[in-house]
């Protein structure tokens, strides 16, 4: 049986190639990262950052330090390098970098990969191009400015000689790397801004893309795990006899809670010859759990309490102008409360990794968004230095923020340590659903005033949600001022504002879920704005325009202008205001998050409780778009995730434990419920690029809820609209 498609030693071969590249005469080009990205100043032993390698035959390898989870970063960033390098993309291979600080921050989240890495990567490409051109100039005894590179070949303006890159690398490698290479101007871009095909698609459609769950090494054992169901609970007792008696079972491993934000909540794992045997044996374990202090967590009750906490005065975190005066002088006042549930990331690939703990080394193959987080967490767990933990970054089968945390890797390490063999641990879907780092449930109360001219003059906003900070520090029991900045620095720039934080002690682990707090902020603010527009008797699009145009806050002018830009574009795309059939309606929402701006118009049809999303028109301002097709795909995916969380998905707790278990009761969106039409448009590309993975999510749910109101007169203030 061939196992070539998962031959992990291939990675070692590639590493060998990389290491031997210099002696083989290839050209290695580094990336100069600012100290801010490296975390510390490079020391004397600091090696150049090998991001680009050109072999003597011209074959070019570009390493991607950021993690690939489907967002296309491992195409977009290397393509930018290739563009500056004037490389022929057909000659370029992209490899995923292992965990290594030479790549700068590899943590892939917050939609900041392009923000942080584009310039350094472009410079690496440009440096390589200049070195190759210099080598050709030297060979021909011509001035460098008479020579130029084009698609893997250097030419000159004097005669018709040319030299392919491969022939130049030996000489180029001896030349100094330019410190300030000249970057291309936009009109010179070859790949940036073009819909270059992703480098990893071909492997995917033949089943050869190797994800963390697919990692194998000789002698691998397989594990399955059941977790302590309540956060802070313990395994009181367990009887492993029946499980050990199952043929093929290697061991039963008790995994205590690891007191680390990225560590295991605790549980019991079975290690066996294959995953199925481990899963079967797991069902034969007789485990008694102790629930602990979170044993009464009930989300139905909890959300009611959050509502109470925001419908009464709470902790004031931000104030400007005079809210009292604005409210007193109001022509129209309105107030409403919004509620949202917990969400689970539920990537199609559940948590999975392969770990091999040995006396002198620890090697890990994991789907991850944070390789350095694995190094530090496993280092802490094994009491070893982080740099002694080798992490091979595997393709993630979706992540959406969940794979930032590496509890599943630490559990695989515990299993490997216990049995003295490499262990592949794949969580069941049930464990994935029930042992998450959930999106916060939330309540928000907003009160606002509109004056006689239709201007929004005052805005009181109270928010209560268990913050992510609670996962790192249990003493954090309500949103911080920083957590509330999306309100206090909102592009509306309302003159009189007060922002308050309501109590919300966490009873489960809270994590970053794609778009994070922007999901519930975007929902509450946009639905409230629609309500306020109706209360003031003004069309919502016009009402929004007025708000942005009235923004006099000097620090928020750019935000207001760019919000207005996407608002105008999306409403134009959708034909806002056109006559619709009965039971049809349109709703709009605008949100600024992760430095980008999105407006969406959702067109629905409502028949009783049935909501059909017919069409979504979406305008995006994320500045320069590196790869329009990948960017469009990100927005399409955000729409799908947005429809799912707007309509159907919520994680509920009873007696401290998650009630949902699999896709029947956590019904993520399926193809039959996808909008029939999605139109995505990118505007304002003249400015620098900003994030795109997340900003598409927050606008969908409020635009949908506003559309439902337009279609049916029914106002939805809680998500999901139709809980499973």
């Amino acid at each position: 049986m061939s196992s070539s498609n998962k031959d992990l030693t291939a990675i070692s071969r590639r590493d060998f190639l990389k290491a031997s590249g210099l002696s083989a005469g290839g050209l290695i080009i580094g990336v100069s990262l600012p100290v801010s990205l490296l975390g510390s100043a490079p020391d004397a032993e600091f090696q150049p950052n090998a991001f680009v390698y050109i072999a003597k035959n011209g074959d070019t390898t570009i390493w991607c330090g950021r993690c690939e989870m489907g967002q296309g970063i491992s195409t977009a960033l290397p393509a930018a390098v290739a563009d500056e390098l004037e490389a022929d993309w057909a000659r370029v291979s992209v490899l995923q970098g292992d965990a290594n600080k030479k790549y700068g921050p590899q943590a892939t989240g917050g939609s900041n990969s392009i923000n942080q890495m584009l310039e350094p990567m472009r410079k690496a490409g440009a440096a390589g191009r200049e070195m190759l051109v210099a080598a050709a100039a030297q060979t021909w005894s011509l001035p460098a400015d008479k020579c130029y590179a084009k698609l893997h070949v250097v030419y000159n303006h004097v005669d018709d000689r040319s030299l392919p890159y491969g022939d130049l690398v030996e000489l180029a490698a001896k030349l100094p790397e330019p410190e300030e290479p000249v970057l291309k101007t936009r009109d010179q871009f070859r790949y940036i801004g073009k819909s270059l095909q992703r480098h990893d698609q071909a492997d995917m459609v033949v089943g050869e893309r190797v994800y963390g769950a697919d990692a194998k090494v000789p002698g691998v054992k397989y594990a399955a795990i059941t977790h302590v169901p309540v956060l802070g609970g313990t395994v009181k007792s367990f009887d492993k006899a029946a499980a050990m008696a199952v043929p093929g079972v290697v061991d039963v491993v008790l995994i205590p809670r690891f007191e680390n934000a990225y560590g295991s909540v605790g549980g019991v794992a079975v290690v066996a010859d294959n995953t199925w045997t481990a899963q079967q044996a797991l069902t034969k374990l007789k485990i008694e759990f102790e629930a602990g202090e979170n044993g009464s967590y009930n989300t139905t009750q909890y959300k009611k309490q959050l509502v109470k906490n925001v419908e009464a005065p709470a902790k004031k975190e931000f104030e400007k102008g005079s809210l009292d005066q604005a409210f007193e002088e109001a022509a129209v006042r309105h107030k409403a409360t919004y509620v949202g549930g917990h969400l689970s990331h539920s990537p199609m690939e559940p948590m999975a990794s392969l770990v091999w703990v040995q006396d002198d080394k620890c090697e890990i193959w994991a789907s991850t968004q944070d390789p350095a987080g694995i190094q530090s967490t496993i280092g802490a767990y094994l009491e070893r230095k982080p740099e002694d933990i080798t992490v091979h970054v595997m393709a993630s089968g979706g992540a959406f923020g969940r794979k930032f945390k590496c509890d599943y890797v630490q559990e695989a390490a515990a299993c490997s340590k216990a049995v003295g063999a490499p262990v592949q641990l794949t969580w069941s879907r049930e464990e994935d659903t029930q042992t998450g780092y959930y999106h916060s449930c939330s309540a928000q109360h907003i009160e606002a005033s509109v004056d006689a001219d239709g201007k929004v003059t005052g805005w009181l906003h109270r928010a209560a949600f268990p913050p992510i900070g609670s996962t790192f520090n249990p003493a954090v029991v309500q949103p911080t001022a920083g957590d509330l900045e999306a309100v206090s620095k909102h592009p509306y720039g309302i003159e009189n504002m007060q922002v308050e934080s309501g109590m919300a002690k966490a009873h489960t682990r809270i994590g970053w879920y794609r778009a994070v707090y922007a999901i519930f902020y975007g929902f509450a603010i946009n639905v409230f704005t629609d309500e306020l527009a109706h209360a003031a008797g003004v069309d919502t699009v016009q009402f929004l325009r007025n708000i942005y145009d009235n923004n006099k806050d000097g620090e928020l002018q750019e935000q207001a202008k760019r919000c207005r830009g996407v608002l105008d574009k999306a409403s134009e795309m959708a034909g806002w205001g056109k006559k619709l059939p009965a039971k049809h309606g349109m709703g709009i929402a605008v949100h600024h998050s992760f430095h980008s701006y999105v407006a969406m118009v959702v067109h629905v049809e409502v028949d009783g409780d049935d909501i059909t999303v017919h069409r979504v028109d979406c305008a995006v301002d994320c500045g320069l778009v590196l790869n329009p097709d990948i960017a469009t795909a990100q927005m399409e995916g955000a729409v799908i995730m947005g429809v799912g969380l707007a309509l159907n998905t919520e994680i509920s707790f009873e007696e401290g434990a998650v009630v949902n278990s699999n896709f029947h009761d956590y019904p993520v969106l399926r193809i039959q419920d996808a909008p029939a039409e999605m139109n995505i448009s990118f505007i304002n590309q003249e400015v620098s690029p900003t994030g795109l993975g997340e900003p598409g999510v927050p606008t969908l749910a409020p635009a949908l809820a506003n559309a439902v109101f337009a279609a049916s007169g029914k106002r939805h203030r809680s998500l999901p609209i139709n809980p499973a």
Binding site: Q197, Q201, V205, Y211, W276, S346, E349, G397, R429
Partner: protein, 154 residues
């Protein structure tokens, strides 16, 4: 007890526990990892393979039940990635993370084998049990329609 299963044209004899789902026999025993685990109870379609020419959930089909049958996995759908669906998946840039796509393609291949000219509604119906969390549904539909067109023209 020994079982004989033909997988991608190759005959495999095995004495694993007959109750083992075909999914784990493929993934762990044969190390054919193109077939993915997603839910384990037939809800997501990531593990779809063809058994005697019909799309089946390999998480629900045991080794025992597969005895004597012909199984095709994503690795065996074509020799070199040249199935019209695989080509259409590339030309439409369908995949994001790609994890569910082998299952999507195997389900779609079953549809096209039985209905060479499906309407968009028929494509949707055929794929409604295959989840894609990245949200590539629109492109999946377009790619299946493209492949159908290609196959008709061929």
């Amino acid at each position: 007890m020994s079982y004989t299963i033909t997988i991608n044209g190759q005959v495999h004899k095995t004495d694993v526990n007959g109750d083992m789902p075909l999914l784990w026999f493929l993934r762990d025993t044969l190390e054919l990892t193109g077939t993915k685990y997603g839910c384990g109870i037939g809800l997501c379609g990531s593990c779809t393979v063809h058994v005697d020419g019909n799309a089946m959930r390999s998480c629900l089909m045991t080794v025992k039940a597969s005895n004597g049958k012909k199984v095709t996995t994503i690795e065996g759908l074509s020799k070199d990635g040249s199935h019209p669906l695989q080509i259409a998946w590339l030309s439409n840039n369908v995949s994001q993370c790609g994890y569910c796509q082998p299952g999507q393609i195997m389900t779609a291949a079953d549809l096209l084998a039985k209905n060479p000219d499906p309407s968009i509604e028929e494509i949707t119906t055929a794929l409604e049990d295959n989840i894609c969390r990245c949200g590539t549904y629109k492109r999946i539909s377009l790619a299946v329609a493209d492949a159908a067109k290609q196959m008709k023209g061929a």
